[in-house]
Symmetry: C2
Subunit: 417 residues, 2 copies
């Protein structure tokens, strides 16, 4: 018999969980649209060169590659290498495809381009709880706005969307790569090493200060420099932007962060929080300015993240186009909601079972169902089982609100039998 479990790191979704996922996705998409963003779509498949040569950080090691087809695939060649075998890969995020999309379609797009992307991405991660190899991302991006108004609008829209889903008391952490880079260089790292140090530094949450120190030493950086850097990080996760301003008086990012933080605080009206976090780094290589994440004591990892990538599109079109994006971690959010409620038990008011007997005229049964559907119900027709009480109990577990036995004039509560 063939293997019937899904491939490693992927999942089948049962109807109850799927209803939750659809509900959350609809809230996100509608909220994004109401806030003036427009949905686009790019293919799952991308040119392997585009993926391989991008600044995707550790994701570059996680690309699923597609075998060449037909005459393009020559297995008779000696000393085959991966590049002989593949010409496409599956997208590992939605930001790189968006840059290609913008480059391809820019003649038809108005700037600023405020864009929604919702769809699956693929990463060959080591499978573990909450980490899938095929998963959804829900992104908004603003292309063509170099001002901080773009950040303010993205943060405001994402925060409102998270609140609509039901999240409260979260905090937006924000930093700027230009501050991070200057701090890294100020302790003695070379400019060409800043990105690499930055990506190691992003693991602070997971591996701690000692882990960051060890990993930097492993990369053969000078021990004194590393220790100066570790000392600079400070103890608290959050730092004082004013103090940083004194340390780096020339850094223009400081004033920008101040402005974003003040504006978002005013818009947030204490419904959520925003704070500077000097230790926030983010893992992608392509961020050039602001970076941000949404965290909360209620869950142990970020539920949204993003940042500014002003030089990514330039690599495709020849001149830089400012861009900034914010991505909601759809899978994390669904997992948190699933852990909170037993969604398999959630009753849906409008979901009815119309129960019929072998002897009932089937066309009339369907017409009765259609009548109920026209008054707004979701109606599933099903045959009566021998033990109606047991059938009702099962329907209740499935989330049906009530049942109508064909021929009866009244609906029945599922707890009644």
């Amino acid at each position: 018999m063939a293997e019937v479990t899904p491939v490693r790191g992927t999942r089948d979704y049962l109807p109850a969980e799927m209803r939750l996922r659809d509900r959350v996705q609809t809230i996100i998409q509608k909220s994004y649209q109401r806030n003036g963003f427009s949905r686009i779509q790019t293919p799952m498949l991308e040119h392997i060169d585009l993926l391989d040569k991008s600044e995707g950080g550790e994701n570059l090691n996680l690309i699923f590659k597609i075998l060449k087809r037909g005459q393009k695939l020559d297995l008779s060649k000696e000393m085959l290498e991966e590049q002989d075998l593949v010409d496409m890969g599956l997208r590992f995020d939605l930001t790189l495809p968006l840059s290609r999309y913008y480059a391809n379609n820019r003649a038809q797009l108005r700037l600023p381009f405020k864009v929604i992307q919702i769809g699956q991405v693929f990463r060959a991660e080591r499978p573990q709880r909450g980490r899938l190899r095929e998963f959804y991302q829900c992104d908004i991006d603003i292309i063509g706005d170099a001002s901080n108004q773009a950040e303010i609008e993205l943060i405001h829209t994402t925060a409102k969307t998270l609140r609509e889903i039901g999240f409260e008391n979260f905090t937006v952490k924000i930093n700027d790569r230009r501050i991070l880079f200057e701090l890294i260089e100020s302790v003695g790292f070379l400019p060409e090493d800043t990105m690499s140090v930055c990506i190691v530094f992003d693991k602070l949450d997971k591996i701690g200060k000692d882990g960051v120190r060890a990993e930097l030493l492993e990369k053969a950086y000078d021990e004194e420099t590393v220790d100066r850097f570790i000392a600079t990080i400070g103890d608290g996760k959050t730092g004082d932007l004013v103090a940083i301003g004194h340390m780096l008086p020339e850094n223009e990012a400081v004033a920008g962060l101040s402005h974003i933080i003040d504006s978002v605080r005013e818009l947030a009206r204490d419904n959520y929080h925003i704070e500077f976090d000097r230790s926030l780094a983010r893992g992608m290589g392509y961020y050039t300015g602001t970076i941000f994440e949404v965290v909360s004591p209620d869950f142990n990892s970020a539920i949204a993240g993003g940042g500014r990538y002003d030089r990514m599109i330039g690599k495709l079109v020849g001149e830089d186009v400012p861009a900034v994006g914010f991505s909601i971690g759809f899978e994390r959010i669904c997992q948190i909601l699933l852990d909170k409620e037993d969604c398999s038990m959630a009753t849906e008011d409008r979901r009815l079972a119309l129960i019929f007997d072998e002897a009932d005229p089937f066309i009339a049964v369907i017409r009765k169902a259609d009548e109920l559907r026209e008054s707004g119900y979701e109606v599933t027709t099903m045959r009566k089982q021998k033990k109606l009480g047991r059938q009702f109990a099962a329907l209740q577990r499935e989330g049906f609100a009530a049942a109508l036995v064909y021929g009866d004039s009244e609906m029945r509560s599922l707890t009644e039998e």
Copy 2:
């Protein structure tokens, strides 16, 4: 500069087309749900063995295969074959993954299982207009109902859904593989050749009688048998079920088809049509009984298709489980709608532009936008351009309904400047 067009056979979707696609997908999903079906999801990635050993007909030659990763990929081996290189593939339809899904999750599923699947599938077809390598399918299936009530419900639900999208005067063509098989055997083909003859016969629409004859002769079937078969097909595309009943008096499929056709006609109330088509074959190897398609003189290929596959799940679970499905050709439908209307010009009543000036307080602009959003508008904020008339004209082309210039008390029509 890197290649920025999408990979061959795939597409980028611009906002206006995406709005049409989202609208159609929402109608389909809501209609399916209202008719008592529940949505599930399977991964895009599947075990290569499952795909390769399936009865997917010509689709088996069109599978995108994923390169093995890490230590599993050994390129030092001599005489490498494809099977050394790949362990997964992208799904080419939603029916095979559904069978695997059912086998994997059957302990948690109630029968009959009425299921919705909406999602992308991948086929390495030769790209041509209307034929993509990555495209959506929208399927409903009923698992666990051997009676013709399943067919009646699928046809009724699909027809209602097509009507909600705006299609009228279409015809459901229906046949039964058991009739086709008996006809094929009755002219002298061997039982083991029936499926292969059937799949060639399915191309009748595209290559005509002469093409079918030529392709069968190419496969080295006996010329006399082939000619007897060609004569049996008859001239008209549709045939008389009563005549077939006389020809094949023992065939139980004839009564079943009669019952389905009569029932659907009663439910259709002349809103659409259903007729027997003795030349309908369908390309998949796995169909075992009824097969059906939706056609219309208004468009030149089927917009929906499906059939019964009672033995597919059995190959995975060890005992046969009846199953039947109907798939709406989402891409065909969107193409027909796009050809009909210029969707880039479609105005959306609730879509507003809030136009502000560099000098306006940005927080107040956002608050004004939020206020309009709370009364049900989709509001995009954007900076005022030098030529407001030209900006208005561009917004109208994008589908905006009106604009509010920040500070004004009244909205402006986009044609007014």
